[in-house]
């Protein structure tokens, strides 16, 4: 299972088509992957497992989200004022 994920991450070119977000508005696609990355990190670290599979979410949100948005959310996370549930 982790081999397949590692292979997907290694062969990563850009964010693939996500059937959950088939339409023009990709705002939620970017935001969801950002949330999923942090939730994945939190969950795997809590279980003392290797957070390497979370790398997929990081690649996807880096591809999709404007750098300014990511920076703003990272700062909010650090301050503790991030609005999303992680």
């Amino acid at each position: 299972m982790s081999d397949r994920i590692n292979e997907k991450i290694q062969n990563y070119r850009t964010a693939p088509f996500d059937a959950r977000f088939p339409n023009t508005n990709q705002t939620r696609n970017c935001y969801q992957n950002y949330l999923d990355f942090h939730r994945c990190n939190k969950a795997l670290s809590a279980k003392q497992q290797d957070p390497a599979p979370c790398e997929w979410y990081r690649r996807v949100y880096t591809s999709l989200c404007p750098m300014g948005w990511v920076q703003r959310w990272d700062e909010q996370l650090e301050e503790g004022s991030f609005a999303g549930r992680i």
Binding site: A15, N29, S63, M67
Partner: protein, 232 residues
Amino acid sequence: MAHPSQLGFQDAASPVMEELLHFHDHTLMIVFLISTLVLYIIMAMVTTKLTNKFILDSQEIEIIWTLLPALILILIALPSLRILYLMDEVNDPHLTVKALGHQWYWSYEYTDYNNFGFDSYMVPTQDLTPGQFRLLDVDHRMVIPTESPVRVLITADDVLHSWAVPSLGIKMDAVPGRLNQTAFIVSRPGIYYGQCSEICGANHSFMPIVVEAIPLKHFENWSTLMLENSSP
């Protein structure tokens, strides 16, 4: 790019724009035929001394001029829907670029591998070098590889803008807080111009878009070079 007293579309640089162009030719031909027919009938009616005061009805012509328009509409609708669904196809992009609209310039981000971005300002008229186009050329163009599906995510930093490149058949609004996706494939290398298409303040007419399409190998060289130049 557009040229003075141009009547038709710019040459298509993407498969979708080619389809749109052919569809427009097809529909415009139908429109011209109908208009010519109607104009002829009007002229004929107006320039004759013959009269007929006893026409009441005619089943045959009623059937013809009901069925014929219905047929014509179907002939227009079928190619139209075909292109609509073609534009909506699921695509598997090779590259994602983000275009952010600001007052009054665009910035482009290529973040698939590194966090790389740059601003794209219009070249002021007094700084134009010979051969550059007034109000169209920019200091840094958005460079993409030819014959590769590219996804562009468009948003804005302040007010509404719109990212448009007519020869690629693209126009998509840049809305603050929203990420709008469009995709295209550039068929041939070249430089394609567009202009901001949503009123955004004093310099709305002075924030053009320039897309430069180059073969993949050269694109890789360009992105390596840009990355080296931008890293402090």
